[in-house]
Symmetry: C2
Subunit: 197 residues, 2 copies
């Protein structure tokens, strides 16, 4: 585990997702690890923190999550743009060595039996809240976030620090066809609220 990775208090975990980044979803079941890219992941509640995630029925990661009921949401950086695109374009069903092909390096977090992707800016460990209707009808999965971490070079004291950090650590926001946007500059509306918050 990198020296710059620090725990994020659970009541601040929603802030890791609030700005709408593209994420990587990883899961482990019965000795199989997989990672996929997803643009449709969204905060759902503050405390306990919950999130929604859309998983197509063709995704191997979905099968792993349905069986293990655990997964990790992590936030890839501009430096991982090619890897993120590749993880969203290929399936483990098609390539048994998908993770090696994309250059994924995994890291371990203490007490967590899940695959965490190295080089991301934040990680949320999630426990599925099974909802058969949502999963079958809408491909929609709901989960509780049980632990969170961030790279303190870009997220500290409960806030993203994109303008102060290396631009390679900015989050990615996918549109379509290999086109992402990086997150940009801060826009502060209410200095007073910011200092209180």
């Amino acid at each position: 585990m990198s020296d710059s990775i620090v725990a994020v208090p659970l009541d601040k975990a929603y802030r890791l997702l609030n700005h709408g980044p593209t994420v990587l979803v990883s899961a482990r079941y019965n000795g199989v690890d997989n990672v996929m890219a997803a643009a449709w992941c969204c905060a759902l509640d503050f405390s306990p923190p919950k999130l929604t995630l859309v998983l197509d029925k063709i995704a191997k990661t979905r099968e792993l999550i349905e069986k293990s009921e655990r997964f990790v949401i992590q936030i890839p950086t501009v430096a991982l743009a090619e890897m993120t695109y590749q993880l969203g374009s290929e399936s483990l069903y098609q390539y048994a060595d998908k993770l090696q092909r994309a250059g994924v390096e995994l890291l371990a977090m203490e007490g967590e039996d899940l695959p965490f992707v190295s080089g991301c800016s934040a990680w949320l460990s999630c426990r599925l809240i099974p909802e058969p209707h949502n999963q079958q009808t809408h491909d929609l999965f709901i989960a509780e976030v049980t632990a969170a971490w961030a790279d303190s070079r870009v997220f500290k004291q409960g806030h993203w620090q994109f303008d102060q950090a290396d631009p390679a650590l900015r989050s990615l926001h996918y549109v379509a066809g290999g086109h992402f946007y990086a997150i940009g500059h801060e826009v502060i509306v209410n200095d007073n609220a910011a200092s209180i918050d």
Copy 2:
């Protein structure tokens, strides 16, 4: 209706939300219009396009949507940051003149009996798909997008053009406490896919 507003084909509507912007939610019922800000709105399906939206029980807009089963998701710009923050901080229950206080100007779209907020970069007209369990348990609303429009100065030919447009037209991505980020620069991974797509 501004000359620069053009219809977006429904199969491209998901792209308006894919990069995770903060949105404004507007609704109308029985002569009452309201607009609120929301960070938790996410694409759910491509065709027909659907989306999810989280609405707290304290929001007047939620009541209007539950009664009318219609609403608009629109994407505010950097130029509307203060208005967006104010629309997320005050309730119509508290201020009957909330929209005037925030400086909201409404525009009409042909054939739509809904309040559209002027100055946004895109608009999605939505029809609620009632799901009582999701609404009561998770404050989660699911809707089908029935029509979409964008400001062609910043979205055209199915793609955002943030790097070519006035920076004041960039989308907002909320974190907390009055802190937003503007969307930043394009990161293109796969030129070939981009040209096909």
